[in-house]
Amino acid sequence: MSTIRAKFLVAAVALMLPGTASSQHMHAHGTGNITIESAFSRAMLPVAKVGGGYLTINNAGAADRLVGAKSDRAEEVQIHEMKMTGAVMEMRELDNGIPVPAKSTVKLEPGGYHLMFTNVSRPFKEGETLAVTLIFEKAGPIEVEFAVGPFAGAQRPHAAHEGHH
């Protein structure tokens, strides 16, 4: 396990050298084949310790994998999957990250894949932005700014109406 993780790290660092992040546009981050859209988080309660992060990954190239993330605002940024089995919400950390197939769009959204910011010392406030580094197995690190929106639930009535796919 640890040797695999070490390899990931070596790969990530090696890939970090040539690629510098671009912050050309608010809605699309990243260079090359992977671009990130609509990265957002939600305002946290003053006493809350964890926050969620959501985004859309567009991959115009070969298959890749989101293997990690980090931010100064959290002790750790974990990759989680939330699944509803009947009335039970199951939460689990994805040890191997999230596969991003070739020429695909992968969404991290409420109720599914998401980033989990742990041990947040300054709870996120609506209106601020969070600097987050996403680490892809092949594309390497991509800097992304997450916009902090209202509390979870604050937009719920609308979301609930639109949510029936």
Partner: protein
Amino acid sequence: MTKNPFMLVATTISAIFITVLVGILFFTFKDEPRNTTFNTAFSLINDRGEAVDQSIFKGNPSLVYFGYTHCPEACPTTLYEVAGYLKELGEDGLPIKSYLVTVDPERDTPDIMNGYVTAFSDRITGVTGTPEEIRRVVAGWRAFAEKKPNKSGGYSMSHTMDLFLIGADGRLKGLIPYGSDPDVAISKIRSALL
């Protein structure tokens, strides 16, 4: 050689029929409220540090949610909605009490619970205590909670997401599933509890 092939076919068909029937029954009743009285004694503590026991589920209707404060999405959303339902019900809803029973008592101290629930509404009471006593309440309502360890040493909780509607008689009257339309939820509360 004397076996009747017809009997074999008939037995197989009957077996399939019974399996399907049981399956349909299971699916039909799975999401129905378990209309049982809560018969478990427990001793817990609320977010103001006061002792609470099974009597909190009797004498007034209540909305009960099993969640935890280290929950990024479902719990804050549900509590935000509960606060909204209570607001919307106004005076009609005054008899209703609402509780967040933590499924993560190890991290959710009364202080943390107090800061958390009061951020949503002054009408929600946090309930915590020892893991053993919490397990009794969760099991008593046939809810579900399970610790899922993370590779970093931390953990998340898997838990029931339904909001439990409990009558003044201490019986479960209904469930509001996660993501319900607020208008539907409010009319359900009215018809089940008021």
